[in-house]
Subunit: 149 residues, 2 copies
């Protein structure tokens, strides 16, 4: 089964990895709080992750990863980190905004684009220039509505 994980599933995995922090027991309540959803929704979602062989859980017990689940969670986390770093270091986006963008982009971006970011970051010789006038670019961005293609 080559199940492609949905954005929702990836978010759950990411939060579980975050909360486990190596070894801590991960509870439904904590997952729900982290994702700003109800416990009922978390329970239901975790049932799906169990069906997909990504996590394990006994009734009323904590959530733990399977090998597959931990691998997937780590991939998502890594992708998130690359995007966040690229946005902050190369495009000089504020950390908070970069992190939110990464949260969403991580679910849809191609491996090739991620690879491009990695290669760019590793190259290292992008100068951190203050002539990236973001404020100006932002203001002008959608003001010239008439330009072509």
């Amino acid at each position: 089964m080559v199940t492609t994980l949905t954005p929702s599933t990836q978010d759950y995995l990411e939060v579980i990895l975050q909360l486990s922090n190596g070894d801590r027991a991960v509870r439904i309540t904590d997952i729900a709080k982290s994702l700003n959803i109800t416990k009922a929704s978390a329970t239901q979602a975790i049932d799906i992750l169990i069906d997909e062989g990504l996590v394990l859980k006994e009734k009323y017990g904590p959530v733990t990863f399977t090998g597959k689940g931990e691998l997937e969670a780590t991939k998502v986390k890594k992708t998130h980190k690359i995007i966040r770093e690229f946005l902050t270091k190369v495009l000089q986006v504020d950390l908070e905004i970069a992190d939110k963008d990464a949260c969403l982009i991580e679910h849809v971006i191609s491996p090739q684009s991620i690879a491009g970011m990695v290669a760019f970051l590793e190259k290292g010789n992008y100068e951190i220039s203050d002539d990236l006038n973001l404020q100006k670019a932002l203001v002008l961005l959608y003001s010239d509505q008439e330009d072509k293609q």
Copy 2:
């Protein structure tokens, strides 16, 4: 009403703009074909766009933009173009993949990150270097699962 447009709505606007190409009549059938959905789904979606004041349409007639709809469509298109150009020119992603990524990222990325891309592209002095070894980066990307944070 400060309606935030959903990704789906933005996709419809983008396709309608594409199909209209200035002045051509845009038909439900063409929208459905472009988005790979059924005509029934297109009809239903267009009804929603009408409710939101983004397009106009009479029974059995063609779809046309309102001012608001055309403005929104143009914004989405512009965002798409910026992302695609950034991915191809700066990160050297293949055009086809860059275009697909742009299709998805355009719905979730912040104005600040877009502004960062614009500023970067306008700066123009990113060298188009062949030491962005994408293939290598791609292979290595998810292979070192044990590294921290």
